[in-house]
Symmetry: C2
Subunit: 289 residues, 2 copies
């Protein structure tokens, strides 16, 4: 299967009335597939469920239960992801769940008919030197939107990231760092940001902005297992120190060390490499050096 499954059936189109298009009223996941298996699928499904709950995709209080239920929808998503991944060497399964079609107007229907989309995209591995030597990271001028109501969730409202990515077109710059309007680091346009300082691992708290990545959660666990103290913090660029080790995480690529930020060289250090080895040991094979 190339392309998309719409509620389980191969289809290139969806109704224009869909609230995902009309209002960004939905969520998505991008799941790495390696050797036919969706990586960290359970974690992706759990994050999707948390997002669907946060957005009120379950029935409204007092209303009849939705059909299909959240549980059914999540189970169907998992099985359709496995289906598109089957027999593939490497690629991306993208999942979208929307609040479906309804009458015009922001107010969600009391009993939404959830719509699910599962797509398959082949992928090519990132350059090896991104892992070995690190990546160049720029600072974007487009700020990340602040909203505690949706912070952390992977909603369809991603225009900030689109505008941030339009700021550069230099293939040597692998990623752009986004700040909130108070100058706090939120993360890369498509990645989470980490700072290793002595025996502590710092990453933005994402209480008001950003997306809590699956690889971010895996890295926080691996860091704790390695004896690092992990801290969710608010960090500005000025608070970064010269001997901090910086890196980015993403469910597709694992860890990329940062070798320069805003044109200034950074050290790619041994503690980052240790975390990369640990990731490789739990299935993120591209992090093996």
């Amino acid at each position: 299967m190339d392309g998309w499954l719409l509620d389980g059936t191969a289809a290139p189109m969806l109704p224009i009335s869909d609230r995902g298009l009309q209002y960004g009223d939905g969520l998505f996941e991008t799941i790495a597939v390696r050797s036919g298996t969706p990586r960290f699928l359970d974690r992706h499904i759990a994050r999707l469920e948390a997002g669907l709950q946060a957005l009120g995709f379950a029935a409204q209080p007092g209303a009849a239960p939705i059909s299909p239920s959240l549980t059914e929808t999540l189970s169907q998503v998992a099985s359709e992801v496995a289906r598109v991944a089957s027999g593939r060497s490497a690629g991306v399964a993208k999942v979208i769940v929307t609040r479906g079609s309804a009458d015009r107007g922001y107010r969600p229907p009391r009993i939404p008919q959830l719509r699910r989309l599962v797509g398959w995209f082949p992928s090519t591995p990132p350059p090896r030197h991104y892992y070995v030597d690190g990546v160049e990271l720029r600072v974007c001028s487009t700020p990340a939107s602040s909203n505690p109501a949706t912070a952390g969730h992977k909603t369809l409202c991603r225009l900030d990231q689109v505008l941030a990515c339009a700021e550069w077109d230099d293939p040597d710059t692998a990623e752009g760092l986004m700040l909130d309007t108070n100058g706090h680091i939120v993360g890369g346009t498509m990645s989470n940001f980490f700072c290793l300082r002595n025996d502590r691992l710092l990453t933005p708290a994402l209480n008001t902005c950003g997306i809590a990545g699956i690889m971010r959660a895996v890295v926080l666990e691996q860091a704790a297992a390695a004896g690092l103290a992990t801290r969710l913090v608010d960090l500005t660029l000025d608070e970064l120190r010269d001997d901090d080790e910086l890196f980015l995480t993403n469910s597709q690529f694992g860890i990329w060390p940062v070798r320069s930020l805003a044109g200034r060289g950074r050290r790619v250090g041994p503690r980052t490499r240790d975390l990369m080895s640990r990731l490789a040991a739990v299935g993120v094979e591209e992090c093996a050096l």
Copy 2:
């Protein structure tokens, strides 16, 4: 024609690959139609153009011009809106312009193939007592997202408004007021907010949040013509005074006076009624009392 025109042809579906669905990468307009004519069409087209420019829908610097050009797209939108409005007594023409389909990834294509959607929706007039007696306005707990990069524009990323509208289901409450995370008033979920204080008309500046409504612009012009000083301000709920006249504006309904805010009665005053008469005189006939 009921339903949607997709690039000028009646169609109920659009490609799942469309960036409007995938990332909220698009803009929309909702245009009131009265007696077969789209009201304030030129203003809607001008706002759409400003949004398309702000989002970089024109070609990237150094790239070939897009095809169709922005000018062609806007001209086609205007003619398709006139087409769906023709012969209709009252309703809504909804326009969506997206950055079209492209490869997966936030980065916009250098030469986007804009996609335009024009839909027709019949409408029923709001209750007359909304105009005569005013409306009940509640305060939503969902904050409005802050982002100066997209503030004022009517982008497809409207999940805040969706979540805010899900907060109440009482038909006696006509609208919900949204605040930013600093407690400043942004506007209603689907309307702009005004405060008449002596000979001054105050409305949120919308530098970091919200949508700059077409009716808001008309009202600001009419207020200036009536000799009121108009001020774009940051206002908190606490800064509202008991004798302020409050009202809401929207391109579909014109002006609704506010007769209660957060359960507390407000005076519907003569200066609001004067502005309503002035709106009626420039074509917003539902504001005639």
